[in-house]
């Protein structure tokens, strides 16, 4: 297979970014600054990404490109499929908001969005540290801009500085963590004398490379927003536009976990003894900090931010097993998390638009004002809480099962215990939606966001009732990555 064939999905995504830019530049002069134009672009991006998502089921590239720097296989395909789905849903969820809030700059937003997605799509195939870093930054840099995107166009009643604060905090933390990661990678590369991941596995471990490894873990920890590197998460989630946060809270996390898996399980697998301890600490801290600090939150975006930190903790529990089964369960978890969290944030956005801000009040009486939206929220929160017949149940079950099998009994017991604690704040949200009366107007999701929420609900419940297809494909994908080691 030619390089082009192997790289088809990253190339298509990159081409889409260019097309979006051209469409925006070549628009009719009369369309400048009109919300309709922005909306059309959003629909175009969503449709194109949905098309690419569908294509992954019919065309599966395999083989290496660029002298083994990039490799396509079941692993990269599974993740690319996930990114396309997250991208399409994220675009659907955000397109009304972007078109209405920033009609003059909608084109830029979508160009940045697709660029970031290009980085993500490239990432799971990277088998070389240089490509890994480049893909990671290609994903990250546009996100900084998008986080601050609404800074001059704050909606009425919102403090204007919030988006800038969100963007700046996100950028500073991101840049610092990139620097730390790069320093660590430099140490690793210097000791091993190679940037290739498979060669890294063969190189002997020295104290210096172990130090580098820990720095990389810390740097990635910042990106993933795991405790104790989580401080930016709630602030950014609160400050940036909610539909963007819906995307930010899932897709980059999935990319980060993919990078961690490739780097640590594939590249540094033989050195598991050195990194499994610190990773377990991160997992435990995240589960505890996320669940405990979510309890007193009054802003639902911050609450979901902390809940996300806890979810990342569960994920690291699975990753810590260091084996293909664990990586498979992590992939399943990620897929579940993408649909669940994206949907939850979108419901929150729609509910907040009807008035009432982003506190518990925004949900008051939601079950009467919009039973469908309340039902969707119910599905998402049950999934986040890990309740049966929502996909989140299987996700949590799998990662804990994998960790138990790998012998991390104490970590699993701790995780299950704090997960019960976590139920409390999910129930509080449901309590607001179902048991408190409210007289706010009926929230209207609009066609695009409504469609995105509906798709998420179908995925959450469908995969919850019949998880086998996703389970099998996730295990196969992880197996294909780690079998070659």
């Amino acid at each position: 297979m030619s390089d082009l064939g192997v790289l088809v999905y990253p190339l298509c995504t990159a081409a889409l970014a260019v097309v979006v830019l051209l469409l925006d530049v070549l628009r009719a002069p009369s369309a400048a600054g009109s919300a309709t134009h922005g909306r059309r672009l959003g629909w175009f991006v969503a449709a194109a990404l949905a098309g690419l998502f569908a294509a992954t089921f019919f065309y599966a590239p395999s083989g290496v490109a660029a002298h083994g720097v990039y490799e396509a296989g079941a692993w990269s395909l599974a993740l690319q499929r996930l990114f396309f789905a997250a991208g399409a849903l994220g675009a659907l969820g955000a397109l009304d908001d972007v078109a209405d809030r920033t009609p003059h700059r909608a084109g830029e937003y979508w160009m940045l969005f697709v660029s970031s997605l290009t980085g993500m799509v490239l990432l799971p195939g990277a088998r070389d540290l240089v490509l890994l870093v480049v893909a990671f930054e290609l994903m990250g840099v546009p996100l900084y801009v998008m986080a601050a995107f609404a800074k001059t166009d704050a909606a009425a009643g919102e403090p204007r500085g919030q988006a800038s604060e969100a963007g700046l905090k996100f950028y500073l933390v991101g840049a610092t963590s990139t620097a730390i990661t790069l320093f660590g990678l430099a140490l690793l590369t210097g000791m091993a004398g190679t940037t290739r991941l498979d060669a890294l596995a063969a190189a002997p471990m020295t104290p210096l490379s172990a130090a580098g490894m820990l720095m990389v873990l810390g740097g990635m920890g910042y990106k993933l927003g795991v405790a104790p590197f989580h401080m930016w998460v709630p602030d950014t989630y609160q400050g940036a536009a909610t539909p963007f946060v819906a995307f930010l809270s899932v897709a980059p996390k999935a990319a980060g976990v993919a990078a961690l898996t490739q780097l640590f399980l594939f590249g540094l697998g033989p050195a598991r003894a050195q990194w499994s301890g610190p990773l377990a600490m991160l997992a435990l801290l995240s589960m505890v900090v996320g669940n405990v600090l979510a309890l007193p939150q009054t802003d639902l975006r911050r609450l979901l931010g902390y809940s996300g930190i806890a979810q990342m903790g569960y994920l690291l529990v699975g990753l810590g097993t260091g084996e293909a089964f664990g990586a498979g369960t992590v992939l399943f978890f990620l897929t579940a998390y993408v649909f669940t969290n994206l949907g939850a944030f979108l419901v929150l956005h729609v509910a907040a638009k009807a008035g009432g801000g982003h506190g518990f009040d925004a949900l008051a009486g939601l079950s009467k004002r919009s039973p469908a939206l309340a039902g969707a929220l119910l599905a998402f929160l049950l999934s986040l809480a890990g309740i049966p017949f929502a996909v989140g149940f299987w996700a949590k079950l799998y990662v804990f099962l994998a960790a138990w099998r790998a012998g991390n009994v104490a970590l699993v017991a701790a995780g299950i215990t704090v997960a019960v604690l976590g139920l409390f704040y999910y129930l509080r949200m449901l309590h607001a939606a179902y048991m408190v009366d409210g007289d706010l107007p009926r929230p209207k999701p609009g066609l695009a966001a409504g469609l995105a929420i509906a798709v998420c609900v179908v995925a959450v419940l469908g995969l919850g009732i019949w998880p086998e297809p996703l389970t099998a494909s996730a295990l196969r994908a992880a197996g294909s990555l780690l079998a070659q080691r």
Binding site: L382, P388, F389, W466
Partner: protein, 520 residues
């Protein structure tokens, strides 16, 4: 159809729940008819299933096997055994009666019936599923809707927050209204967490990559593991069965739940806990069960007595019934702890008998409350003159509760105490019998105070007896109670075969003998 009978029984309420949600708002009759029809399908199905169960052959029958998550070794396997038949029937009867008992519900009836049906689908699933993981899944489906059922439709402010939960409440400003609902949910979920840990350990240690209950029961787990895991399973499931001291969610939950929810909750839901302890804990972890037996039996004896004494000091009608449930579930656990055929038959029979009885109690309490708008016993008195029918059925339930021969309660208590006497711990029979005595005191006292004493006072002169559909629940449940008392064989026969099969493994040395004769 015959090959999928068990799926049909489990799926009917679940499909009913979805249909109810799809019906337009305000179609009162439609909602109730869907609920009624789906409950009737389950009920009829379980009658067919239990009638077609070959008691001579025993074992698992009507096996249905669907690959659910084969890559994880999870198979959706339904099968009927001697225990599940009667319990399915019980659930069907209670649901049917429960749907009719809340016929007049006005507030958000659509969601109410949907949740109720969903819950029952979970209960039915637990009784027939043969896969440990799906057992747990159905168990959760049965437990979780309780949060909304109590939180939304429960009696507000009936339960004042107290204890450590009170502090949590003030800290997070949830308000006292949903206190009972959240206490119940959180306590049961902590139990679930323990169960989940045990499931992981069982799955990993078996090494066979399967969750099949039968296969897990064949695995010889190391003794140390069994001794470690048994308390997790016992207390995990036991929380739902009201095992002391983890029963505190139950009276609060019952007291604030609406009628049909109380019926389902006390009538079948608490049985899931005991069923889980026996089916998962004792059968899969025999050595663990043996090691912990003295504790399990002693705690069960405490349950019987403590629950009875608590019930005696209550003034709220629902609290009396709720604490009597705690006491009666103690009888189930006591029977289980004897590890004798009599005790086990008695335990399972008590699940059925108590389910019917307590369902009848809560249905009648609901009727009384709807009319008198109070559950405060000192305010009542002489209600028999205005509602003779309700009084008669209430008295019948009381007689079964205290174990009068000829009612279902007698059969089970007799078997359990006989089992206790025959087991290695004859001392357990003493608190058991004492508990039955205290029960007689408080139920008779209660009935007298409500129905037979002087009165009724001026404000209650206008009360009426049950009307039309309201009769269905008391009559159906009352008839079941008497039939089970006079003719226990109809369910005891099938229970016996399965108990014997399980005990064969659990107590290999013991000669398993028939005990039905003794009951008659």
């Amino acid at each position: 159809m015959n090959g999928h009978l068990l799926s049909l029984i489990v799926a009917a309420p679940a499909v009913g729940a979805v249909l109810v949600m799809l019906l337009p708002e305000g179609s009162r009759l439609g909602i109730r008819l869907v609920a009624l029809v789906s409950s009737l399908i389950s009920l009829a199905g379980s009658i067919v299933a239990i009638a077609g169960y070959d008691r001579a052959a025993g074992g698992l029958q009507r096996v249905e096997d669907y690959a659910m998550v084969p890559s994880m070794g999870v198979r959706l396997r339904f099968a009927l055994d001697g225990w599940s038949g009667p319990l399915l029937l019980l659930t069907g009867v209670i649901l049917f009666a429960g749907v009719l008992a809340t016929w007049t519900l006005a507030k958000r009836d659509k969601e109410y019936y949907a949740l109720l049906l969903l819950l029952v689908a979970g209960v039915l699933g637990v009784f027939v599923v043969q896969d440990l993981l799906l057992f747990f899944l159905f168990y959760e489906v049965a437990v979780l809707p309780m949060y909304l059922l109590i939180g939304i439709w429960g009696a507000s402010h009936a339960v004042p927050a107290d204890g450590p939960f009170k502090r949590a409440w003030t800290a997070f400003s949830v308000g006292s209204k949903q206190y009972a609902a959240m206490k119940l949910t959180l306590m049961l979920l902590i139990g679930s967490a323990a169960i989940l840990v045990a499931i992981f350990a069982l799955y990993t240690a078996s090494g066979s990559r399967t969750f099949d209950l039968g296969e897990l029961a064949q695995t010889a787990y190391p003794r140390r593991l069994q001794v470690t895991l048994f308390p997790l399973v016992w207390l995990g499931f036991g929380t739902l069965a009201g095992v002391f001291p983890f029963h505190t969610w139950s009276p609060d939950g019952h007291a604030s739940a609406p009628t049909a929810t109380s019926m389902i909750h006390a009538g079948v839901l608490m049985k899931l806990g005991a069923f889980g302890v026996m089916r998962v804990g004792m059968v899969i972890l025999p050595e663990g069960a043996h090691a912990w037996l003295p504790v399990v039996g002693a705690v069960a004896a405490i349950n019987v007595l403590y629950g009875a004494f608590c019930a005696m000091s209550q003034k709220d009608l629902k609290y009396i019934i709720a604490y009597s449930s705690v006491s009666h579930m103690g009888v189930v656990m006591l029977g289980a702890a004897t590890l004798t055929p009599e005790g086990w038959n008695g335990a399972v029979f008590q699940m059925v008998a108590h389910g019917v009885m307590t369902g009848l109690f809560f249905a009648l309490v609901g009727l009384v409350y709807e009319r008198a708008h109070t559950r405060w016993i000192p305010k009542m008195g002489g209600f028999a003159t205005v509602m003779p029918g309700v009084a008669a059925f209430f008295t019948l339930a009381c007689l079964s509760s205290l174990g009068l021969p000829g009612t279902a309660g007698f059969v089970s208590e007799f078997l359990v105490f006989l089992g206790a006497w025959k087991s290695g711990h004859p001392g357990w029979a003493i608190p058991g019998v004492l508990g039955a005595f205290v029960t007689a005191v408080y139920v008779l006292k209660g009935t007298r105070a409500i129905f037979w004493g002087p009165g009724p006072s001026e404000e209650f002169h206008e009360l009426s007896d049950a009307k039309r559909t309201e009769w269905v629940a008391p009559v159906v449940l009352g008839v079941c109670l008497v039939v089970l008392g006079l003719w226990p064989r109809i369910v005891l026969d099938s229970i016996e075969g399965t108990s014997a099969a399980h005990l064969q493994r659990l107590v290999p040395s013991q000669v398993v003998t028939a005990s039905v004769e003794a009951a008659r």
